[in-house]
């Protein structure tokens, strides 16, 4: 069990800056995120796309913004728990007991939800019967490529993941690559390589096709794919891989007794507290009259939620507002010399 002054759920820009605010005012915190890396939507959805509306930063990409926020946290020792999805939040005496899917647990008076639009999950095939084979012969990510050796693998998708795996697996397996249109959206070098491998007969390419059904009793035997002109083809296959990107699901947050409206959590605008004392929501996931889904709004919300955390984490102390330019205490925390 990890004890902390505040637990932040979500390592996107809002979660990162909220961590900074908590540390500045002398509280400790831990950060949990379902993804395997820091950055949230900025890294997952638009690492290379420029952002133009961060105050005092005329232009930066999602990746640059994330790196800068991580750099800003360097003076502090903050523990990140990645690949962990918070499953349960429940009251235990005066604290919240928080449990993740991998068995980590936290005890804290303050939980700050900076979860964006929920957690990222792989987008799945639409035919219902695909579920039967999921994680047996149908996957949305590759954990151990050795299982495919010598087998037939049908890969769906047109982005980098699909193309990279088609190239990689074509060395040891028979590969079908299926995509809904002729154009791919991966790196040009990879696209060229795929086309070369198709020419060499190492990859069977099917474009303008989509999955319609999977066949097989115990084991997957074949799949039906349908062309835009309604032609149906049956492909024998041992494995199926789907790479359709990630979608955002509110997930377990829906079960924590919070007031939720259209996938967002209602908060007040003084502390950004939810209907549960000590649980706050900041960034894209919170909702209040006039809410803007801007990164800068998330920063403001996090700063105020952090001050609210102080009261519950240090009930016997009084919070005093200080500027980073002049406060000796804050400079000590940052490890910089005072004047």
């Amino acid at each position: 069990m990890i004890k902390t002054d505040a637990l932040i759920i979500g390592a996107g820009p809002t979660g990162l800056f909220t961590a900074h605010q908590l540390k500045l005012i002398g509280l400790n915190c831990e950060v949990v995120d379902n993804l395997d890396k820091i950055g949230g939507q900025c890294i997952e959805l638009y690492p290379d796309k420029p952002i133009y509306d961060i105050p005092a930063v005329p232009e930066c990409t999602g990746e640059e913004l994330t790196n800068n926020l991580v750099n800003q946290l360097k003076p502090f020792d903050i523990k990140f728990h990645l690949n962990e999805r918070v499953e349960e939040v429940k009251k235990e005496n005066d604290n919240w007991l928080v449990k993740t899917n991998n068995g980590k647990s936290f005890s804290t008076p303050n939980v700050i939800i900076a979860g964006g639009v929920g957690s990222f999950e792989p987008r799945k095939f639409s035919p219902k019967e695909c579920e039967k084979f999921e994680n047996k012969s149908l996957f949305y990510s590759v954990k151990d490529k050795k299982i495919f050796t010598g087998k037939t693998v049908s890969i769906f998708g047109g982005g980098d993941s699909a193309l990279d795996w088609a190239v990689e697996l074509s060395k040891e397996c028979s590969v079908n690559l299926i995509h809904r249109r002729d154009e791919f959206r991966g790196a040009q070098a990879t696209i060229d390589k795929v086309h070369q491998l198709v020419k060499d007969g190492k990859i069977n390419l099917f474009t303008q096709y989509q999955m319609v059904s999977v066949k097989g009793d115990k084991n997957l035997e074949s799949i039906d794919i349908k062309h835009d002109n309604n032609d149906i083809k049956n492909l024998k296959t041992d494995y199926v891989l789907g790479f359709f990107g990630l979608i955002m699901q509110l997930g377990p947050i829906a079960n924590w007794g919070l007031n939720i409206d259209k996938k967002t959590i209602e908060v007040d605008t003084e502390k950004f507290e939810t209907n549960q004392k000590g649980i706050y929501a900041v960034g894209d996931i919170c909702n209040y009259p006039g809410k803007l889904k801007l990164i800068l709004s998330g920063f403001h919300e996090g700063a105020l939620a952090a001050r609210a955390c102080f009261k519950l984490a240090r009930p016997n102390e009084k919070y005093r507002f200080e500027f980073t330019t002049s406060s000796k205490t804050i400079k000590e925390r940052l490890g910089v010399k005072g004047d």
Binding site: Q41, L45, Y46, K49, V117, R123, S126, G157, G158, G159, H179, R180, R181, E183, R185, Q210, D228, F244, G245, I247, M248, Q249, K263, K293
Partner: protein, 106 residues
């Protein structure tokens, strides 16, 4: 102003007047039409405002810009007449537009 008809997957028709300059996605969200999630808020960064545009209209409205087709790869059951409704701007020219909303967005 343009009259836009949103048809949900259970064949319910929702006719609304949408102001010029808004997007077809915003028209749906502001009028509480079910089935348009618009998780990213209109930034072409997700595919949860996906609609099917009736064939005759599909060729009339402004074409897709770079990036929209890429995003549509991630939509639920995309078809040849798929569009992201956040990329269709409302004007007098699209008065009478009909779009079908897929059975789900994710």
């Amino acid at each position: 102003m343009a009259k836009i008809t949103y048809i949900t997957h259970d064949n319910q028709k929702h006719e609304v007047e949408v102001q010029n300059g808004l997007t077809v996605m915003e028209g749906a969200v502001q009028n509480d039409i079910p089935g348009i999630d618009a998780d990213c808020g209109g930034g072409m960064a997700c595919a949860t405002c996906h609609v099917y545009v009736k064939e005759d209209w599909f060729n009339k409205i402004p074409k897709k810009e770079d990036g929209e087709e890429d995003m549509l790869d991630m939509a639920f059951e995309p078809k040849t007449n798929s569009r992201l409704s956040c990329q269709i701007v409302v004007s007098d020219e699209i008065d009478g537009l009909e779009v079908n909303i897929p059975s789900k967005q994710a």
